[in-house]
């Protein structure tokens, strides 16, 4: 029998990026807020110590900061003919846990989506005709425009102190920035990061080939910065232990380094850690959330009543909780009915290895950060003419090598023996002179009828609840795009002076053991009416108006960029709507 606690104005499920942003916004609006976080409390000086944060085996190979699949996992199959099996250890994606969520161990690559990304179906159809889209592709417009979101992109970037070079200031293209980006109202809060040798050579080669390279927008800061909340971050020291790791010197934008110091000072906020929300409770009408039930670390069930529920648990777990709580209709891929689980996407990542003459090139790969890199955007979105391409979509291409951590940095030319003296020699000869950027071709993944999330019929979590099941495979469109982008990147590596280029285009089937970012999106998408989405444009559930579902689960399809910038912007956009409209008049914000 669950113990029932005193009421709170708002309960937030998960204290990652969106949970922290919403908690701060709602407490500013005068609400009494509790955040329930499944993982542990984490903070810089107690968890990411300068004396042992640089431990590749512990954090990168043994996944110490990530969610343990034994606590909760997911299942996977390529298609409905297969039986989905559990992901017993992470591979294709790494799921976060604990205070700060994935915001602790992300790369901090902080992008905005293109204006056309938000009106994708309309745009592509208008430009190319509807036939360019594969029959089973289910992309759709978001319901909002880039211009509507722009002030909130700005808000997130100024919260983080993002380091970058503006490419489009209020419509005027700026040299040195991304000429394709949507117009921004003001420059980045801090100047771009410095770049290493390999990144700089790439930019030179890109210019020689007629592209417009620019520094990757980075949440590893180029200089110390105090954000609008009064919180100060430090200057990144290019330690090369960024993504997958906690930052030891306050120089990576995370909830810890941007929001939590201010949030925790408020008497109207509290966080309960090591507590897992097992369901969102509804009243008898099924149209109103009454709060959540969670299980504490001793296994006791607790009920937390609240007027407002914010679901901030990461895309996969957002969808799982909606399904387990009976909110909305589960998606049926055969009929196409039901919104919960639909339009699930990942990313289509490709790369190429560039082996250079070791006597002439030393890239010092270990001098780097998670978001270092020089990029070109000519092949992203619809930035180029796709009429004869044979696919739609694309992504940025960049020399974005983030580290030289030895266990991971063992790329050797094909044909090298896998062990023995020759292996060692190849390792020695290539470590310093190889360009090995896993994220080089950051291709989009558009949504398809047969790629979706649902509840698994067989495998359960430790509470006996069904795990969320991923049904996902690559489609021709994405694989063609991947090959195209890889060819372009390979050209650039050649131009840089590589003596050997080994292309690594993404190939199917989708493999749950092959890492390609944790950018898992969709499943509870936003849209203009309940027949095409789970949420309205303010991320408010069509089914349960006092429930808002944050995060990338809202993306109707993925774009060719890292999602966190857009996740942060949407969180601020949603928070603004809650504060300026919903709290004054609780109820549906959109009547469709």
């Amino acid at each position: 029998m669950a113990r029932k606690l005193p009421h709170k104005d708002a309960v937030i499920i998960g204290l990652g990026w969106t949970g922290s942003i919403l908690a701060n916004e709602l407490t500013d609006a005068g609400l009494d807020v509790v955040a329930i976080e499944r993982g542990p409390w984490r903070d810089t000086a107690t968890d990411f110590l300068m004396s042992y944060a640089q431990d590749e085996l512990r954090y990168r190979i043994r996944h110490e900061l990530f969610l343990r699949p034994s606590q909760i996992s997911v299942t996977f199959r390529n298609n409905a003919e297969q039986m989905a099996l559990p992901v017993r250890t992470w591979g294709a994606f790494m799921l976060g846990n604990g205070a700060g969520g994935a915001g602790v161990h992300w790369n901090a690559e902080t992008w905005r989506f293109l204006p056309t990304d938000f009106t994708l179906r309309t745009h592509l159809t208008q430009r190319y005709g509807a036939n360019i889209l594969p029959q089973d592709m289910t992309i759709q417009d978001w319901g909002i425009t880039y211009d509507q979101l722009e002030p909130h992109y700005d808000q997130f970037e100024y919260l983080c102190g993002t380091s970058g070079q503006a490419g489009n200031l209020k419509g005027t293209i700026q040299a040195g920035g991304n000429p394709f980006e949507g117009p921004r109202s003001r420059p980045y809060p801090t100047p771009p990061m410095k770049q290493g040798y390999g990144h700089t050579l790439f930019a030179q080669a890109a210019e020689e080939l007629g592209y417009k390279p620019f520094p990757q927008p980075s949440g590893n800061l180029s200089q110390s910065y105090t954000n609008p909340l009064g919180v100060t971050l430090g200057q990144c020291t290019y330690c090369g232990f960024c993504e997958w790791f906690g930052c030891a010197n306050y120089s990576k934008a995370t909830p810890q380094t941007t929001i939590l110091p201010v949030l925790l000072r408020k008497s109207s906020f509290e966080a309960r850690t090591e507590c897992e929300v097992t369901r969102i409770n509804l009243d008898s009408s099924g149209k109103r959330a009454t709060g959540v039930t969670y299980v504490d670390s001793s296994g006791s069930e607790v009920e937390q009543p609240a007027d407002l529920v914010l679901l901030c648990a990461f895309s996969l777990f957002n969808v799982q909780l909606l399904l387990l709580s009976g909110i909305g209709t589960p998606y049926d891929p055969n009929t196409g009915q039901g919104q919960i689980g639909r339009n699930f996407t990942h990313q289509t990542m490709s790369s190429a290895l560039g082996f250079f003459d070791k006597d002439r090139y030393n890239f010092n790969p270990f001098v780097a950060s998670g978001a270092i890199g020089m990029c070109i955007d000519e092949f992203n979105g619809d930035n180029f003419d796709h009429s004869k391409a044979g696919f739609v979509g694309g992504g940025y291409i960049g020399q974005v090598q983030t580290n030289g951590r030895p266990i991971e940095t063992t790329a050797v030319p094909p044909g090298t023996p896998a062990w023995g003296s020759k292996w060692k020699q190849a390792l020695r000869d290539n470590y310093l002179s190889t360009i090995n950027a896993g994220g080089a071709c950051h291709g989009s993944m558009y949504s398809y009828r047969d790629v979706y999330l649902s509840l698994d019929p067989t495998y359960k979590d430790r509470f006996g609840r069904p795990l969320v099941r991923l049904t996902i495979d690559f489609h021709e469109n994405e694989l063609k795009m991947a090959a195209f982008m890889t060819d372009k990147y390979a050209e650039l590596l050649q131009k840089m002076g590589a003596k050997q280029v080994v292309k690594q285009p993404r190939k199917g089937p989708y493999d749950v053991t092959a890492y390609q970012t944790s950018h898992l999106n969709g499943g509870a998408i936003m849209g203009t009416n309940p027949s095409n989405s789970a949420l309205n444009i303010y991320l408010q559930s069509w089914d349960v108006p006092n429930l808002f579902v944050q995060g990338a689960s809202a993306f109707p399809q993925n774009a060719g960029y890292n999602p966190t910038g857009t996740v942060g912007a949407l969180a601020f956009w949603s928070a603004h709507a809650i504060r300026s409209q919903y709290l004054k008049n609780p109820g549906p914000l959109v009547h469709a």
């Binding site: 590749e56 034994s70 020291t237 507590c275 001098v367 310093l432």
Partner: protein, 242 residues
């Protein structure tokens, strides 16, 4: 040196964490950023000593194996002298050996390659079975000799046999075992020396990785120049007492 166990600190420290009786049993974070003096969860530094997991025979096999995967030459000491067998031993005796943190509930079905490893066999169990099976296979193939007793050439032959599947292990997939031991050996060779392998940061010196430095601000602009910092690890700082 004194290691502070985070759980001990949580149990004994009375400040910073406010535990309100009527709330759930969990950490309640409220009223300011928590602070526990001395809080840390440092890695356990592997010390030389008796084997924690391997029997003497298993250890001999693994030492012989790693010494062929990473032979001694002018680039680095061999896998054995680098401590790769010690690394594997300590890893198998710990949470990795048990697949702690892995989702290990059944039912277990083989699945496609894309669905990833689905065996209930933990690394510790895998090694235990495979090392015994390897010796059996070697006895059959090499006139009664176990792996550790073979000549270097014969060892390499046996290893290649595992690698390409021609050397079969009883009730086990030799290729899978080969992948496992190769990965563990190379991890140990390239990991921080605190884990028992990569003794003296030998592999790092070989490739030119200066180790666990945290501040490269003075180097980011020095393009195409060799970094001349001393090679250090988390607990390896020979430069401190030079």
């Amino acid at each position: 040196m004194h290691q502070v166990n985070r759980r001990q600190l949580l149990a004994t420290s009375a400040i910073a964490l406010l535990l309100i009786p009527q709330a759930a049993r969990a950490a309640l974070i409220k009223g300011g950023l928590p602070w526990k003096p001395g809080a840390a969860d440092p890695p356990t530094i592997v010390r030389p000593g008796p084997w924690h997991f391997f029997t003497a025979q298993e250890a001999a096999t693994v030492e012989a194996f790693v010494d062929r995967l990473i032979p001694a030459d002018d680039l680095s000491p061999g896998g054995k002298d680098c401590g790769c067998a010690v690394f594997i031993d300590r890893q198998l005796a710990g949470p990795y050996g048990r697949f702690d943190g892995y989702y290990m509930s059944g039912p277990f079905h083989k699945g496609t390659k894309q669905q990833g490893p689905q065996s209930p066999l933990t690394p510790a169990q895998h090694y235990r079975k495979a090392l015994a099976a390897l010796d059996d296979a070697c006895r059959q193939k090499f006139g009664g000799k176990v792996f550790a007793a073979l000549s270097d050439e014969q060892k390499d032959q046996a290893i290649k046999g595992l690698e390409d599947g021609s050397l079969k292990l009883e009730k086990l997939d030799g290729k899978e075992f080969f992948k496992l031991i190769l990965k563990n050996t190379q991890n140990g060779f390239l990991a921080d020396p605190i884990y028992g392998g990569n003794k003296g940061a030998a592999s790092w010196k070989m490739i030119g990785f200066p180790g666990t430095h945290y501040d490269y601000r003075g180097w980011i602009d020095r393009h195409n120049q060799r970094v001349t910092l001393p090679t250090i690890g988390i607990a390896d700082h020979p430069n401190w007492s030079e």
